[in-house]
C-alpha cells in the first residue's frame, strides 16, 4: 500500500501541529442525518478531511462524536446524506465492500477493544491474518515493529488482562496501525488515563503522523490532546458541525459555546463536570 509523503509537523504555540498545506480532500460528509429512535444525533452533518492532517472533533458528551467515526467506516449506517471516502460512497456499500474501506481507514476504539481471549501478539496479528498479510515470520516481524513504535517492545505474550489502561490503548493502537492504514480514527484515545500517559498517547499520535504520514481524526474531550495534536478542530454542536478551523481560530470564534468549551480547561471539559 502506498503512502503520501510524510508531512512536516513543526511545533507551534501550545505544541500544536501546523496544518499540512492544502492537503487533498479524501473524506467528505455531506448533509448526513442520523437518529437513534427519537433521538436525533445529526440533522445536517457536513465535514471534509484532508490527507495528512490531524482533525480533532470535540463536543459535549453524547452528542455523537463517535457516531461520526463509526458512520465513516460503516459500523453505523447514516439515515440520509452522503459519506465519501477516497472518492467512493460509503453509505451504499455492503459489508464486503466496506472491508476495502476498513483496510485503508482503521479505528482505535475508546476502550481499545482488545480481544480478551487472545494474547497481545494474536490481537495484533488478527487483521494481518484476516487479510493474508504475509508469512508467520513476516507477521512476527510486523508485530515487533508496531509494538516498538508504540514503546511497548516485548509484550507479545501478555494477555490484555495483564495490561494497564494506557498499555491497552497503546496495544490497541499497534493493532490499528498493523495494516498500515492511510487514515487512523481515534475514539477518545486519552479518556481515563493519567496525565503522563495522556502526554505519551498524544506524542504517539504526532509520531504516527510524522513517521507514517497517516491522516488522523481524533474524537476527544481532552484539551491537552486538542492543543497538542490538532491541525484543524471541528465542534459538534446542535446536531451539526458548528465550527471547523484551527485551534487559534477556535479561541476567537463567534460561537460562545466553543470559546467556553476551550476555556473549560486544558484537562477536563466544563460540561463533564456538570
Amino acid at each position: 500500500m502506498s503512502h503520501p509523503a510524510t508531512p512536516v509537523v513543526p511545533e507551534t504555540v501550545d505544541g500544536a501541529a501546523t496544518p499540512p498545506a492544502d492537503g487533498e480532500e479524501i473524506i467528505r460528509f455531506a448533509h448526513v442525518g442520523k437518529a437513534f429512535g427519537d433521538k436525533v444525533v445529526y440533522e445536517d452533518l457536513n465535514l471534509d478531511i484532508r490527507r495528512g492532517e490531524t482533525l480533532t472533533i470535540i463536543g459535549g458528551s453524547g452528542v455523537g462524536k463517535s457516531v461520526c467515526l463509526k458512520m465513516l467506516i460503516g459500523l453505523l449506517k447514516a439515515d440520509r446524506g452522503s459519506i465519501r471516502a477516497f472518492g467512493d460512497e460509503v453509505t451504499t456499500m455492503d459489508e464486503r465492500a466496506l472491508m476495502g474501506v476498513r483496510s485503508r481507514i482503521a479505528m482505535l476504539f475508546q476502550g481499545a477493544a482488545l480481544f480478551d481471549s487472545m494474547s497481545v501478539e494474536d490481537n495484533i496479528k488478527y487483521p494481518l491474518r484476516e487479510h493474508a498479510w504475509g508469512t508467520e515470520e513476516q507477521m512476527d516481524a510486523r508485530v515487533a515493529e508496531v509494538l516498538e513504535l508504540v514503546d511497548l517492545p516485548g509484550v507479545q505474550k501478555l494477555r490484555p488482562s495483564e495490561l494497564s489502561g494506557g498499555m491497552k490503548k497503546r496495544v490497541g493502537l499497534a493493532r490499528t496501525i498493523a495494516m498500515k492504514p492511510e487514515v487512523v480514527l481515534y475514539d477518545e484515545p486519552t479518556t481515563g488515563l493519567d496525565p503522563i500517559t495522556v502526554r505519551r498517547i498524544n506524542g504517539l499520535i504526532l509520531r504516527l503522523q510524522e513517521r507514517l504520514g497517516v491522516t488522523s481524526v481524533v474524537v476527544t474531550h481532552d484539551m491537552d490532546t486538542v492543543f497538542t495534536v490538532t491541525n484543524r478542530l471541528a465542534l459538534v454542536y446542535q446536531r451539526r458541525i458548528a465550527f471547523v478551523g484551527t485551534p487559534e481560530e477556535a479561541r476567537h470564534s463567534d460561537i460562545r459555546f466553543l470559546r467556553e468549551f476551550i476555556k473549560g480547561g486544558r484537562g477536563v471539559l466544563q460540561e463533564d463536570l456538570s
Binding site: A106, G111, F115, E130, H131, R175
Partner: protein
C-alpha cells in the same frame, strides 16, 4: 413499540442472522479451529451434566412406573415405558434444556461482553465478519454436539431405568436390556436425535443473537443472559410439540 411488534421483529432478526450464518457456513476457508474450540467448550464439557441428569431421570421414571403399574399387574412393562419416554422425549428435551441453560447462557455472556466493550465493532473494523467468527462456530458446535449428547442421555437414562427395574420388579439385567432393544426402534432414535439437532440450532442462534444485541454495560450482559435462558427454554418446549407432530407424521 408493542410487545407483538418486538416479538415479530426479533423473529425476523433471528431469521436474518440464520441466513447470514448459512452463507458464512459454506464460505471457504472453513474456520475449523474455531469450530473445534466451541465443540470442546459447548459439547465435551457438557457430558457430565448430561450424564447425571439422564441417569437420575431414568431411575426416577422407573421408580414411578414400577409402583404405578403394579396395581394393573403391568410392572414388567416398566422398562418399555422408560426407554420409549427417554429416547423419544426426555432424552432430547432435558438435554437441550440443561445444555441450553449452561451453554446458551455462556454464549450470550461472552458475546454480550464483547458487544458492550466494542469488540464486535473491532472485529468488523479489522476486516473480519463477526457472524463468521462468532456465530457460525457456535451453531456448528451445537448442531453436532447436542445430538451426540442426546445419544449419551438416551443410553445412560435407559441403563438407569433398567437398574431400578431390576431392583423394583426383580427382572434380570439381560431381560431389561433385551426389552429395551425390542421396544426402541431406529425411527424412535432418529426422531429424538433429529429433534435435538434443531434444539442445538435454536440454542446457538438465539444466544448469539441476544449476545450481539446486548447493550448497557455489565448490567445489560446480566439481563441478556437471563433472557437467553428463558427464550431458549420456551423455544425448545414449544418447538418440541411441532417437531414431535412433524416426525410422528413421517415415522409414525
Amino acid at each position: 413499540m408493542s410487545g407483538v411488534q418486538t416479538f415479530f421483529g426479533a423473529i425476523g432478526e433471528v431469521a436474518i442472522l440464520t441466513g447470514q450464518t448459512a452463507r458464512e457456513l459454506v464460505r471457504r476457508p472453513f474456520e475449523v479451529k474455531l469450530w473445534i474450540v466451541q465443540l470442546e467448550q459447548g459439547g465435551v464439557q457438557s457430558w457430565s451434566i448430561t450424564f447425571l441428569t439422564a441417569v437420575f431421570t431414568g431411575m426416577v421414571m422407573a421408580s414411578q412406573f414400577a409402583i404405578g403399574l403394579e396395581p394393573f399387574g403391568a410392572s414388567l412393562y416398566t422398562g418399555k415405558l422408560v426407554s420409549l419416554g427417554i429416547v423419544r422425549e426426555l432424552g432430547p428435551v432435558l438435554t437441550a434444556l440443561l445444555v441450553g441453560g449452561r451453554v446458551g447462557a455462556g454464549f450470550t455472556a461472552e458475546i454480550g461482553s464483547m458487544a458492550v466493550t466494542e469488540q464486535i465493532d473491532a472485529i468488523r473494523a479489522l476486516g473480519a465478519n463477526p457472524v463468521r467468527k462468532l456465530v457460525v462456530p457456535r451453531v456448528v458446535a451445537m448442531v453436532i454436539a447436542l445430538p451426540l449428547l442426546t445419544v449419551l442421555a438416551d443410553l445412560v437414562g435407559c441403563l438407569g431405568g433398567v437398574f431400578i427395574t431390576m431392583l423394583e420388579v426383580h427382572i434380570s439385567f439381560r431381560f431389561g436390556i433385551e426389552q429395551m432393544i425390542d421396544t426402541v426402534d431406529v425411527p424412535d432414535l432418529i426422531h429424538g436425535i433429529l429433534k435435538s439437532a434443531f434444539f442445538g440450532y435454536f440454542i446457538a442462534i438465539i444466544s448469539c443473537w441476544v449476545g450481539m444485541n446486548t447493550r448497557g454495560g455489565t448490567e445489560g450482559v446480566g439481563q441478556a443472559t437471563t433472557r437467553t435462558v428463558v427464550w431458549t427454554s420456551i423455544t425448545i418446549l414449544i418447538s418440541d410439540f411441532f417437531l414431535t407432530r412433524f416426525f410422528l407424521a413421517i415415522y409414525g
